[in-house]
Symmetry: C2
Subunit: 419 residues, 2 copies
Amino acid sequence: MKTIEVEIITIGDEILIGQIVDTNSAWMGVELNKQGFDIVQITSVKDNAEHITQAIDNALTRADVVLMTGGIGPTKDDITKQTLCKYFNTELVFSQAVYDNIEQLFKNRPNVMNPLTAAQAMVPKACTVIQNEVGTAPVTWFEKDNKVIVSMPGVPYEMKHNMTHHIIPRLQDHFKTANILHLTTLVYGIPESQLAIRLTDWENALPSHMHLAYLPNNGLIKLRLSGTGDDKARLQEEMQQRIEQLPDIIGEAIVAYEDIALEALLGKLLTQRQATVATAESCTGGNIAHLITSIPGSSNYFKGSVVAYANETKTNVLQVNPHDIEQHGAVSREVVEQMADGVRTLLHTDYAVATSGIAGPDGGTAEKPVGTIWIAVSGPNGTCSQLFQCGKLREQNINRSTQAAFFMLIQQIKRDIRG
Amino acid sequence: MKTIEVEIITIGDEILIGQIVDTNSAWMGVELNKQGFDIVQITSVKDNAEHITQAIDNALTRADVVLMTGGIGPTKDDITKQTLCKYFNTELVFSQAVYDNIEQLFKNRPNVMNPLTAAQAMVPKACTVIQNEVGTAPVTWFEKDNKVIVSMPGVPYEMKHNMTHHIIPRLQDHFKTANILHLTTLVYGIPESQLAIRLTDWENALPSHMHLAYLPNNGLIKLRLSGTGDDKARLQEEMQQRIEQLPDIIGEAIVAYEDIALEALLGKLLTQRQATVATAESCTGGNIAHLITSIPGSSNYFKGSVVAYANETKTNVLQVNPHDIEQHGAVSREVVEQMADGVRTLLHTDYAVATSGIAGPDGGTAEKPVGTIWIAVSGPNGTCSQLFQCGKLREQNINRSTQAAFFMLIQQIKRDIRG
């Protein structure tokens, strides 16, 4: 089966001067790739008719599908719609459906409908209009020589909504793409190269309609097994059988059998167990709490956190023994375990995790260089701790120790659930 | 003077499948734009010789400079160097200088120099080699028909080092670009459209060699005044005079006269005043503490934080009166002020900031909809608080209220310094 080639064109001066980072393309790349589309190029151009036209022309020499984001707002610098009209030799016509959608969006905000917003209801005659339920600018879908050109909003949540609900399903239908399934296995604590060595035989034994990808990030590796086949149920079963062989090969390093952030997985486990958690953070400085609370509904299981940056905060609030700080240093097994126990007692939670380390760039010694991090988990069955040697960069040390803390906490809760 | 047009080409399969977000281009866009270069297009292509060649060809039809990142690692999927050799009809030759640089980088790590890393010392004959002090892959600089093509590493810190120390200065020299100066004024709390209206007369009165840009982000707006001129000292003085007119027009909304993150500005002010700070966070969930501690050296002024997500944490740890929570709700002036005072007392700091709000998506009511956020600052001269109405999205509410908290804290410390 022919691979469908996609080119993404992001439009907007703000991207080229670096005022915003183009995160849309990466999201689209992931989602399209999952559905078996091949992204040949990502192109960012200015709000300039000539550049936009040139980019479309170039894209059509390579790709079957051109997905354009941005440049369709109500202000005069946005010219994508006019440029597409000219490109497809068509004119703007009024769409009552789009107008009604805008009115609906603004129904609780009087005086917002003005000539600029109303102008959003003018759409190119030669396209299929896809209603954008979450914004005023409609998605427009053009076809030319069996190729598809789509223009959609650049606002990330509008783009994501429309890609998920409209554009990807329509592309699958238009090109009659093959069934593709993905099973993601999250692995923690094994470097990518070692993991690849351990999985060599397993990977070599995969049938030709299955493919494995390694997607590493901050110590976590997403193993994504993809498969294609006409019979979806059978494919799912076949792939599931392969996945079930993994625990014998990589054991406890498997964190989850789904593509999920560790903070979300923690939330699921705590909800399942009806348990609560708290954090006591030194080197991670509140980042663990920040990620836990980025999940909607986290107030059901997260009671709070003590960021104990100063030693006196560790002793006064978390009841760490000052003698232990003096004797072993703040970055030590003794102190981090007392921090975890301390915050668990203070906030009356079932679980707690604590971090104490040297994030850098200063504060390292020969004995405890920058990147030395102790992490402890306190729970109903006791307290355990572990030493990590992360890297030299402050940001990386904070991120890696945060992920390590989530991993330790998750493994402990799982062990407790298994009993 | 002719504007120098630049095109950026980022190379790597991992960008197109969305495994990494291309943040390099945005950084390069900002830095090149500051120096007066105009970025016409950003193109991301695969590690594929044909695509890379096509991208260079297309770029040279538009741009004077082509800056390429990525695809020059030691593994076999990286083919940019070979592709450039073919493109410029040249061959690879051994560079002793590059070899010595690699040896130097590895001098504390035996057994790292292997055939793959040594191969990094093979460079195209027809280019100028720029020594990369922070990585093994050298930067290569080609010239063709008075145009410049540069290939550099994709690793962000290597790219940034080489752009700053080598590539931008060489480009300025090669194209004899004009002196360009920027003065950034940080403004908070005025929407961009209103700010533009208030600055209309001031902006219209600017001489033709000065230009103003608005760069908004999470409620903060960077006003960047750029100027060109042969006499650098005089230009600086002229621009400074314009900036000194701003306080009369936009007053207290000015946060700083430099391009600085609010958490870094807070650190400077606290260091200057030799004062300490703590945070008590409900809706921001540790994000304020996380940003404070992202700054190296923050342990000198940051003592810690209590993330008080549960009401019992607010009452037990921060001594908020349970009666006030019952009567006014956790999201209220009464509670947020007690949180700020409570954490300041608990951690013995000079200043404290507290947040309590409804981040969403759940928890909103008719009276207090999602996005209702109270923020309080407690300091040596008392406690003040303010109500904010942010948006509907959880992430945005967390980010906006974090910035608002930094702004209130900074303004209070400044008022105290002025006495």
